[in-house]
Subunit: 230 residues, 4 copies
C-alpha cells in the first residue's frame, strides 16, 4: 500500500496491536465453551421416568465436562501466550485463526461422542473416539506454528520477554498431537481406553498448563501503576 511512503520500513508494515485480536479470540472461545450446553437436552422419557432418563444421559454430561475443560485450558494457554505478545502481523493472524478454527469445531465431535457412548454400539464408539481424537489432535497441531513464529519475530513480542520461553514451549503442542493420535488409535481397538486417555490428558494439560505467568509487560504495567499511586 502507498500511504506514507518512505516512512514505513518493510519490517513495520502489517503490524497491529494485539488487543482486538484478543477480544475476537475471547469471544470465539467464550461462545464455543458456552454452546456446549446446547447438547444437554431434557431426555425423551415416559410419564414419571424423567429421573431415570436424566441418569441415562451420563455420556452427555461426561462429554460436556471433557470439552468444557479442554476449551477452558486452551483459552488459559492462549491468555498466557498473548500476555507476551504486543503486536500481531498477518502471519500471526493466520496462526491464531487456525487455533480458533480447530477449537470452534469441538462441539461437533463432542456431540458425536456423547451420542455414540449413549447408543452403546461398539463400532460406532470406535468411530466417535477416533473423530474426537482427530479434532483434539488438530487443536494441538494448530499450536505447533505459534512458538517458532514468535521466536523468529521478536518485534511482535512484549519487550523483556526471553526468547527462550518460546523455544521451550515449542514441544508442548507435539505432546498433544502424539498423545491424541495414540488415544485415537487405541480407541479404535478399545473405545473405553481412548476415553480414559482423553480424561487423563485433559487433567494433565490442566495441571501442567503454563497458566498465567506474569509477563514482563505486566510487571512493568504493575510497577508503573504503583508509581502512580505513590
Amino acid at each position: 500500500m502507498s500511504e506514507m511512503p518512505g516512512r514505513e520500513s518493510t519490517r513495520e508494515v502489517r503490524l497491529t496491536d494485539s488487543s482486538r485480536v484478543e477480544a475476537f479470540t475471547d469471544g470465539v472461545f467464550a461462545i464455543v465453551i458456552t454452546i456446549l450446553v446446547l447438547e444437554l437436552r431434557p431426555p425423551e422419557h415416559e410419564d414419571g421416568g424423567l429421573l431415570r432418563g436424566l441418569l441415562s444421559q451420563w455420556a452427555f454430561y461426561l462429554a460436556f465436562l471433557m470439552s468444557f475443560l479442554y476449551v477452558g485450558i486452551v483459552w488459559m494457554n492462549h491468555h498466557a501466550l498473548f500476555s507476551r505478545v504486543r503486536f500481531v502481523d498477518r502471519g500471526l493472524q493466520w496462526v491464531n485463526f487456525s487455533i480458533l478454527l480447530t477449537a470452534a469445531v469441538l462441539p461437533f465431535p463432542t456431540a458425536v461422542l456423547a451420542e455414540a457412548l449413549h447408543g452403546g454400539n461398539p463400532t460406532d464408539q470406535r468411530a466417535a473416539v477416533a473423530l474426537y481424537a482427530l479434532v483434539a489432535g488438530l487443536m494441538s497441531a494448530a499450536w505447533i506454528a505459534v512458538f517458532p513464529y514468535l521466536r523468529d519475530h521478536p518485534q511482535l513480542v512484549e519487550p523483556g520477554t526471553d526468547p527462550a520461553y518460546f523455544h521451550a514451549q515449542r514441544i508442548r503442542p507435539w505432546t498433544g498431537v502424539i498423545l491424541y493420535t495414540a488415544a485415537g488409535l487405541l480407541g479404535l481397538l478399545a473405545p473405553l481406553i481412548g476415553l480414559i486417555l482423553f480424561v487423563v490428558m485433559i487433567v494433565f494439560h490442566g495441571l501442567t498448563s503454563d497458566g498465567v505467568h506474569e509477563a514482563p509487560s505486566l510487571r512493568r504495567r504493575a510497577s508503573r501503576a504503583k508509581r502512580h499511586l505513590d
Copy 2:
C-alpha cells in the same frame, strides 16, 4: 519457567492483570443469559390455537425469567467482586473457571424444569426441581473458595481494599448452598414449594446483592480523571 531468572520472585510468578479474565467471563455470562431464550419456542398448535398454545407455555416463561434473573445477579456479584481484583493468578483462574462452569450449565436444568412443569407429572416435577436445586446449589458452592482465596492473597487485590470485605462476604455462598439444598429436598416432597423457594431466593439475592460498590481503584481512577479535567 526459566525466563528472567533471578528477577522474578516466586510471589510475582504467575500473575496477570484481570481484564482479559473479566472479558472472557463477561462473554460467557452474556451468552448463557441470552441463549436461555432458545427454549422459548412457538408452541405446537392446531389452526387458530396459537393464543391458547402461547398461554399454556407459562412454565417456560417462568423458568426463563428465573434463570435470567439468577444469571444476571451472579454476573453483578462477579462484577462487584472483580472491581476489587487487580491481578489473577493460576489459583484464581481455576476458581473463576468453576464459577463459569456451573453458570454455563444452567440452561439445561432450566429446560428440564420447564418441560416437567409443562408436562404436569408430579414425579417428574420432583426430579426437575431437585436437578435445578442441584445446579443452583453448585453455582453457589463455586463461590465458596473465592473469598478466602482473595483474603489470603492480598497481592491480587486492588490496593486500598479492606481484607475484612472478603472475610465478611465468605458467608454468602454458604447461604446459597444451604437454601438451595433445602429447596431441593422440599421440592422432592412438594415441587411447588421448591419452586416458590427458588423465586423467593432469587428475589432475596437480588435485593441483598452487594451490587456494585465503588472499589478503591475506581475512586482513584475517578479522582485522577477529575484532576485531568481541572
Copy 3:
C-alpha cells in the same frame, strides 16, 4: 459494607465505572441480534423444490429483518446514551438489566410471528402480532426509567453533559409504548396493518434515532489526544 469507614460518603458508595456494564450489554445485544438467524432454516421441500421452498419462507426473512433492525437501533441508542454515562450504581444496573431482559426475549416473538405469517391462519396471525407488539412495547417501556434516573443522579453522568438532554429524551420511550400498543390493538383487528405499523415504526426509530452524538467526554478525550499528538 464496612471497608474504609469514614472515607466513603453515602453518595459515593455503590458506584462503578460503566465500561464493564457496557461490555456485558454489548455482548447480550450482539448475541441477540446474531442468533436471530437461527430461525432461518433450509425449507422442507420435495426433490427439486428448494427454490419454491426458499421463496415461500418470505415471512421468516421479513421477521428476521424487522427484529435485526430493531435490536440494532436499540443498541445504537444504548451506545448514544452510555457515551454520556461515567459511573453505574445499583439502580442504573437494574434499569439497564431490564433493558437487556426485554431485548433478549425478542427472538421468541420473532419466531412466533414468522410461523404465524407463514402458516396463514388469521386468528393465529392476530395473536402473533399482539405478542410481538407486547414484547416490542416492553422493550420501549424498559427505557422509561433511565432518563429520569440519570437526570436525578448527575454524579453518574459524564461531566459537561447538559441535564436538559435527559429531560428532553424522557418522552421517546413513551412514544414507543403508545405506538406499539396501538399496533398490537390494530393487529388484533387486522394483522397486516399491525405488521405495516411495525415496519413503519422501525424505520421511523432508525431515522429519528439520536444516533451517536459526540458526548462531552469524547470531545474532551479527542482534544486531549490532539494535544498529545502536537
Copy 4:
C-alpha cells in the same frame, strides 16, 4: 439536540470514538463464525454405521470451512480498516451495520448449500449455489459505501492516514460483487463450477487481503510506548 448550544460545530456533532462499535462488531463476527458449527450434527445412521454417516456428510464440512474462512477474512479486513478509524458518526454506524447484517445472514445459505449438496438433486443445488452467491455478493456490496465515506469524512480517520488508502481500496468490494454474481450465474448452469469459484475466491480473498497493516495511530502508540520504556 440542544445541549451546549453554540459550542458544537455541525462538523463535531454525532461523533463517538470507535471502540464500542468495534466491540459490538467483534461480538457479532465471533458469534456468526462460531454458530456455524451448529450445522455439524451427528448423522442419522443405523447401528454400526456412524463412520459411513460421518463420511457422507462431507458437504457440511465443506460448507462450514468455506463460510468460516469467509467470515474470518471479512473480520480481518474490518480490523484492518478500523485500525485507521478514530471516530464513528451516524453514517458510518449505518454502513457498519449493513456489513454486520449481511455477515450475520451467512449461516443460512451455508446450511441450505450443505443440505443441497448432501441431498444431491441438481435443481436444488443450482438454487442453493445461487442463494449462497447472492448473500456472499451482498456481503461484498455492503463494503462499497465504506471507503468513499471515509475518504469524504477525514475527521473520522486516524490522523496521519493517507486518504489515498481509502481511494485505492474502493475497488475491492466491486470485485467481490462481480465475481460472486458470476459464480451465482455459473452455478445456475453447473453448481459444481459455482462451488469451485467460491473456494477460489475465498482463497484469493485470503491471500490478497490487506491483512493488518500498521495504521499510523499504532505506530504512534508503539513509539510512545517505547519512549515510556526507555
